[in-house]
């Protein structure tokens, strides 16, 4: 009787979990916290977020975790990600030297450099996609 009730409760909880965005956000945060600890303890130069990403990929791959337990939470994080960058920008206020020539030079480097990287990478990948992968007949992501 009792195991049956446990199972039923667990299934009910799982259903609730698959529909609850906030619980999934919490779960993703817990994965990150655990990964952060792993990163600190192992002295790897890999940040916690990436260890967490690899960890979750493993759990998903071995079917320990279902994708439905994370999908809603992940969707939210990906949609609102730009908000998390914003508090880093006013850091320019701590660097008075950037309000002048140095700042303009750095801005120019960033703008030009990023444009070069975007264009260069796009062309080399496009080239490689059609030259190197020529033999694979699959065209699903053209």
């Amino acid at each position: 009787m009792l195991p049956h009730t446990f199972k039923k409760t667990f299934i009910l909880f799982k259903r609730k979990f698959h529909r609850s965005r906030i619980l999934q956000i919490g779960l993703l945060s817990i994965f990150w916290l655990v990964a952060q600890e792993i990163s600190l303890l192992s002295h790897l130069p890999i940040p916690g977020g990436v260890i967490g990403l690899l960890l979750v990929l493993m759990l998903l791959y071995f079917h320990i975790l279902s994708i439905r337990s994370l999908a809603l939470g992940a969707e939210w994080f990906l949609a609102e990600m730009l908000l998390f960058f914003i508090p880093a920008v006013p850091a320019v206020l701590n660097h008075q030297e950037f309000f002048g020539w140095t700042g303009l030079k750095i801005l120019a480097i960033i703008i030009l450099g990023t444009t070069i990287v975007i264009i260069g990478t796009a062309f080399i990948v496009d080239f490689s996609f059609y030259k190197v992968e020529k033999h694979s007949k699959n065209k699903n992501i053209q």
Binding site: L57, P90, A91, T114, F123, F129, E133
Partner: protein, 241 residues
């Protein structure tokens, strides 16, 4: 009456106030600009462009130190961690792409990383930016946590690198789309890869907005680039020394 207790807890109360006020302001402005951007689509009304500008103006006008501001809002920055973890979902969903196109992805990651570091070095030398600042600029196109690790390793200032990383992300996410529209590209993969390599998480997020497939490739390439650059850092250190 005894006010000692009040004065003992006063700093704590102030910290709570700072957190509440600045977090509310940051999130509020973000939501407002998001709403506004939906109505009036221009590159400068994008939340990632207009919100920091307004915030900077407010902090200057209210004579707030950045250290005070960040003490109240660093929890938002910390959410970049779980946000990176969240990329596991789209990557897992399209894992067949990695298996099928690992060669192209590898070529893109290696070429893009080298191009990014080389272009930053050359451009900085060209305009006469001195050594520490130049070193801090090198890892600017990979995601913040990686970039800070590498910057410290090669002798830059991690804190400055974080700022350059964010500026690169803002520029890449806002203008990457424009640049890519003009280019005669045939594959979705090339668009995704260039977003992910050039503008890390911000680019991936923007790419995800455009098309979930492009965004997935961008996220994947971003993670691979980060790992590749961490491995590259000791080599880079040797070359620079």
């Amino acid at each position: 009456m005894n006010f000692d207790l009040f004065f003992t807890y006063r700093p704590l109360l102030m910290a709570a106030e700072v957190t509440l006020i600045w977090s509310f302001l940051t999130i509020g402005l973000y939501w407002l600009s998001k709403f506004f951007h939906r109505r009036y689509k221009r590159w400068w009304t994008a939340p990632i462009v207009i919100t920091p500008i307004i915030l900077i103006i407010i902090t200057i006008l209210s004579h707030t130190n950045y250290n005070v501001y960040i003490s109240g809002t660093h929890w938002l920055l910390a959410l970049l961690g779980p946000a990176t973890v969240a990329f596991a979902v789209p990557i897992y969903r399209r894992r067949s792409i990695i298996v099928m196109y690992w060669r192209t992805l590898g070529i893109g990651v290696i070429f893009g990383s080298v191009l990014s570091i080389a272009s930053a070095w050359l451009l900085a030398s060209l305009v006469g930016i001195d050594s520490t600042l130049r070193l801090s600029l090198l890892p600017r196109s990979i995601s913040t946590p990686f970039a800070m690790v590498i910057s410290g390793e090669i002798g830059g200032t991690p804190e400055l690198t974080a700022l350059f990383v964010v500026l690169t992300g803002i520029f890449g996410a806002s203008f990457g789309q424009l640049v890519l529209y003009w280019l005669p590209l045939k594959s979705k993969m090339s668009r995704g890869a260039s977003f992910g390599i050039a503008a890390h998480v911000a680019g991936s997020s923007k790419a995800y907005e455009l098309d979930s497939e492009i965004g997935t490739i961008a996220a994947l390439v971003m993670v691979l680039t980060g790992i590749f650059n961490v491995l590259l850092a000791p080599v880079l250190e040797m070359i620079l020394a």
